[in-house]
């Protein structure tokens, strides 16, 4: 028997295994590893793109003063009915950059991997306050802005208009916004028209206090998501093979024969610009406790036209701050992606003329891209007192498309009376028919 020199067993090679030499100072332990030799889950995590890969911050506006590019004045305002800004001093007009092209948000959805978060959609710092003080770039005075509801203020010393342009960590500055297109007069007319169709049974207090001129233009916070996913569903489908009647005269009844099929579908798909409410309050669509579902109904917006953040657009409007992060909205996205997938599967189920019962389903999100946006909504509100704080009825007008939806409180006794009257008339007709 030949003698072999003793061999040392091969050392463990995976991540976290002991090494002969400690890594050099400043070197990350993972740097010395070749990612292609690592197990797939670890490799994928290592190679996934940086979560906050898209930097949308407006560095040129960081001093808080939005100067007119022509004369330097800060009297800059959104020109109603357009996407442009106008200088109130020299009347110069210009358009902000569209984020779609500037950051390539419409491209590469089919190649999305991991979770990509634009810088304005980053997680909100736990200790972030809404009340922020800013140093005026004109005179150096400290100006306080409550970012919960406003993003601009006038310096009380030098009268410069200050805007919150820096992407502060409380979620108040999004990546982009869509300027209002629908003007206030138009919104008032639409709300009036909506209510005129619902006057007869409306609550008296609502009709007495109805002043659509009190409508408020609000920029509401949304996350606009591009996603790539793969969904599976499995269930049973039935195809009718025969239909026949049994019995005669009064006892005639229809019977069916059917084939039962086991069905399974997989759909790989991409979704472009799906809007999700990124405020916990507005995202709560429970119709028993609020009427936020009507604001949800006026979606979608033409988010492709969104422009780079500039606080001057918000002058004269109010805004609501985002308070939800990507992780909070992930379950909602998964749910909506599943619904979209099921809708896309439906055309392939047409041969099952007795319908399909889906029993199991799954969504696998391959990649998502999150962009925080302020979207324009005209809101009219009426508070109906009642138990548990009452109910706030909203009428909402999409600030871009003009789509209008609302909730008009109904006078209960009028409704009951109308229902009983019609019920009685129909019943009387039925009795007359039987007695005849």
């Amino acid at each position: 028997m030949a003698l072999h020199p003793p061999t040392t067993p091969p050392g463990p090679t995976g991540p976290g295994s002991p090494q002969d030499m400690p890594p050099a100072p400043g070197q990350h332990p993972m740097d010395s590893l070749d990612p292609s030799k690592l197990p797939p889950p670890i490799r994928d995590e290592l190679l996934a793109p940086d979560p906050a890969a898209i930097d949308t911050s407006a560095k040129e506006l960081r001093d808080g003063l939005n100067h007119c590019p022509k004369c330097g004045s800060t009297e800059v305002q959104h020109r109603p009915g357009s996407d442009r800004l106008i200088c109130l001093y020299c009347r110069h007009e210009w358009a902000a950059t569209r984020v779609e092209e500037a950051f390539g948000l419409g491209e590469g959805i089919a190649d999305l991997r991991g979770t990509q978060i634009a810088s304005g959609a980053r997680d909100i710092a736990a200790d972030a306050a809404s009340l922020r003080s800013f140093k005026c770039g004109g005179c150096g005075a400290e100006v306080v802005i409550n970012t919960e509801t406003a993003m601009t203020a006038r310096c009380h010393w030098c009268r410069h208009v200050l805007g919150v342009n820096e992407q502060i960590d409380n979620g108040a500055v999004p990546d982009a916004l869509l300027p209002f297109h629908i003007k206030k007069d138009d919104a008032v007319a639409r709300i009036r028209q909506f209510v005129d169709k619902r006057r007869l049974f409306a609550l008296k207090a609502f009709k007495d206090e109805f002043t659509p001129e009190n409508v408020v233009g609000v920029y509401l916070p949304y996350m606009v998501v591009d996603a790539r996913g793969s969904a599976d569903a499995a269930g049973l489908g039935e195809i009718e093979t025969r239909r026949y009647t049994r019995g005669d005269g009064k006892n005639k009844q229809t019977y069916f024969d059917a084939d039962v099929w086991r069905v399974q579908r997989r759909v790989d798909f991409t979704v472009d610009d799906l809007p999700l409410e990124s405020s916990a309050r507005r995202g709560n669509l429970d119709t028993r406790s609020n009427t936020h579902n009507v604001i949800n109904t006026i979606l979608p917006f033409d988010t492709k036209n969104a422009v780079k953040w500039n606080a001057s657009y918000l002058l004269g409007y109010t805004s609501e701050k985002r308070d939800r992060d990507v992780q909070h909205l992930m379950p909602r996205l998964q749910e909506q992606m599943l619904s979209i997938a099921r809708a896309r599967m439906q055309p392939s189920m047409q041969r099952y003329d007795r319908g399909v019962r889906w029993e199991r389903e799954r969504i696998d999100l391959k990649g998502t891209r999150w962009v925080a946006m302020y979207l324009p909504v005209w809101l009219y509100a009426h508070h109906q007192p009642g138990s548990g704080g009452g109910l706030r009825h909203y009428i909402a007008v999409n600030g871009r498309t003009g789509e209008t939806m609302g909730s008009v409180p109904a006078q209960q006794w009028k409704l009951v009376l109308a229902a009983l009257t019609i019920g009685t008339v129909v019943e009387a007709l039925a009795l007359w028919f039987i007695a005849r």
Binding site: F201, A202, D232, A234, G235, G237, E238, K250, Q253, F256, D257, A258, D259, V260, R262, Q264, R266, V267, D268, T270, V271, D272, P275, T287, N293, V294, T297, P300, E335, L338, S339, I340, R342, A343, R344, Q346, S348, M349, Y352, R354, V356, R357, W358, R360, E361, R362, V408, P409, V416, A418, A419, L420, I422, G423, T424, V426, E427, A428, A430, I434
Partner: protein, 85 residues
Amino acid sequence: MDIDGDTILFLLALGPASAVGLYWAIYRHYRNTDKSHAFEHETAVEVLALTGVEADRKVDEIRGTRSPRIEGDNVGNHRQRVQPM
């Protein structure tokens, strides 16, 4: 005219049914509690691949049922969630 028992019951039920139906119709017209964003149809979706059609297979036959649809039909109810796989 000769009317059988079932038809009489049906005619008698018409009154209460129309009252309840009218109440709900008006209530919904005013309050719009059933409305929401139709994201399934109003979002730009691109289907990259749809597979599984070829794997459908017949597993059973039903004879003489009186129901015109499969029990628990949810092919058109996209938002109804079912068991995870």
